[in-house]
């Protein structure tokens, strides 16, 4: 057979296999989006956004308390996780290679690989057992999940800032710490904010650690030592409940959660595009 023809056939064959793999990977994604979109959308109305979880047997109701609770939990987790992650990232990138930084980097990789349920149990042991099932415990667990993500993205972002920018600032007689905080961080701020947003998107959908450390809650926020409602747990609890309107709310919650994460991811992509 003509050698050229053989190569063309090989090329087509591989192309076909690649596209086949691509489509089979996309099928689950699109079927989830379609199913959640179609079923979730029909449950969404104004009541859905302004009413809390209905009691058993009550019709209607919404997920307003879960939206509130999820935002509070994410906010608290970011309050703990972002500063720690940011500072570890700065340390790893700006303060040289030492045995300590190698160890810290390794530990962050390990932490990043720890199953989230284990982190949930850690938060349970450390916080839930002393102050009870609470938003604080859940936020702590989610912060632990955020830290390695924020640390590594901050480190990578800072390493992309050319050495010449640091040198320019140091040569101006600007002290090292001001150089880092003002000049280097401002040069990398978009990439760092992107990393933070992606870590928030990651924790927004976490359910296992939240379930272990905080548990399910049907009411509004009632203090830092009490639980709050949570969208991901709504999906878990409502979907497996025997009540029809709870199952409907589970679809709605799933859709809101997907849109929330999608929104954050899109914001992150937009920021990346604007990077210098």
């Amino acid at each position: 057979m003509d050698h050229h023809k053989f190569r063309v056939i090989k090329d087509r064959l591989i192309q076909f296999l690649v596209y086949l793999a691509l489509f089979s990977a996309l099928i689950p994604l699109f079927s989830i989006l379609y199913e959640v979109g179609a079923r979730g959308f029909s449950t969404i109305n104004i009541e859905f956004f302004i009413k809390p979880t209905p009691t058993v047997g009550e019709s209607g109701g919404g997920v307003a308390n879960a939206i509130q609770g999820t935002l509070i939990t994410i906010g608290l987790a970011s309050l703990i996780g972002v500063p720690i992650g940011l500072m570890s990232g700065i340390f790893l990138s700006e303060y040289g290679e030492s045995k300590l930084s190698v160890a810290i980097r390794f530990l962050h990789d390990v932490l990043n690989g720890v199953p989230s349920i284990v982190i949930g149990v850690f938060a349970y042991a450390l916080i839930t057992r002393s102050i009870g099932f609470s938003v604080t415990a859940a936020a702590f667990a989610l912060a632990v999940i955020m830290i390695p993500i924020v640390t590594r993205t901050t480190e990578e972002a800072l390493k992309l800032v050319p050495m010449s920018v640091r040198e320019a600032a140091i040569a101006l007689g600007i002290p090292r710490w001001k150089t880092t905080i003002i000049v280097v961080l401002s040069s990398a701020k978009k990439a760092i904010v992107t990393g933070i947003l992606l870590s928030i998107a990651r924790i927004a959908g976490e359910s296992a650690p939240v379930l272990v450390s905080m548990g399910f809650w049907r009411w509004w926020f009632a203090g830092l030592n009490r639980p709050v409602a949570n969208l991901a747990l709504n999906v878990f609890i409502f979907a497996t409940s025997p009540f029809e309107n709870w199952v409907a709310l589970a679809w709605g919650s799933a859709l809101i959660l997907i849109l929330l994460v999608l929104g954050i991811s899109i914001a992150a992509r937009v920021l990346i595009k604007g990077r210098y």
Partner: protein, 252 residues
């Protein structure tokens, strides 16, 4: 002559690599001193030793004295930050701060050193940009990003940025190597102007440039100072055989 730098037995290392060997020289005030020599001879390391920039590279080491205004900048109680404020630096590749406007690029040194007053800052920005012959080209675009200027303008912006903190010395590390001939000519003219009030030490690969802009020339080879003297003498009547070979293009 008024001596600005008195360099005594200066040695510098990167790890175990000995890059500068026993340099002794005096640099005159309000004059342009050019450092020439083949690649890797230690020119850049030499000027980075003059404002303690060498030591920020991990694994680097310096010994000897650099006496600046009567004080050895390597003495124990001397703060390198204060040294760098008096001895500014312009780098090989223009490196304006990418996320800052033209105005902020020039003002940042003062802002971070505690100057808050808007009028003082405005005046300093204007004066520095005028000194760097850039004011007329950017006065309407002060809010534009510094990175949006042309290469030659960026380099003059970097000179303005260095001048804004009112240094006494400007160290320039091949400031024209990334620029086209027209931008180079502008910077060279600027160097001659600035030499009236500033001490300038310039590293250059380009011997014609050294001959055009400098009053004194030092020839470095393999980390040693081979010859140092008035530029005219070095170029017309070099005393050392190596200098002559380098200047006539026999190596380098």
């Amino acid at each position: 002559m008024a001596v600005k730098f008195d360099i005594q037995n200066l040695n510098a290392w990167f790890g175990s690599k000995h890059v500068l060997k026993n340099i002794n020289m005096k640099i005159e005030e309000n004059a342009v001193t050019a450092i020439i020599g083949p690649s890797g001879c230690g020119k850049t390391t030499f000027i980075r030793c003059l404002n303690r920039m060498h030591e920020i590279t991990p694994g680097s080491r310096v010994s000897g004295k650099v006496i600046f205004n009567g004080v050895n900048i390597y003495d124990n109680g001397v703060d390198p930050v204060m040294v760098r404020r008096k001895i500014g630096m312009v780098f090989q590749k223009p490196n304006p701060f990418p996320m800052m406007s033209v105005y902020d690029n020039v003002a940042i040194g003062l802002k971070l050193n505690g100057v808050r007053d808007k009028k003082t800052l405005d005046a300093a920005v204007r004066r520095s940009l005028e000194l760097a012959n850039l004011w007329d080209e950017v006065k309407d675009d002060l809010k534009k990003s510094g990175a949006s200027l042309s290469g030659g303008q960026q380099q003059r912006l970097c000179i303005a940025r260095a001048l804004a903190v009112e240094p006494e010395v400007l160290l320039m590390d091949e400031p024209c190597s990334a620029l086209d001939p027209i931008a180079t000519a502008k910077i060279e003219a600027l160097i001659r102007e600035l030499a009236k009030n500033y001490t300038i030490v310039i590293v250059t690969h380009n011997m014609q440039q050294a001959a055009r802009v400098s009053d004194y020339t030092a020839f470095l080879y393999l980390g040693e100072l081979i010859e140092y003297g008035a530029t005219k003498q070095i170029f017309e009547n070099p005393k050392h055989e190596l200098t002559e070979k380098y200047l006539t293009g026999k190596f380098g």
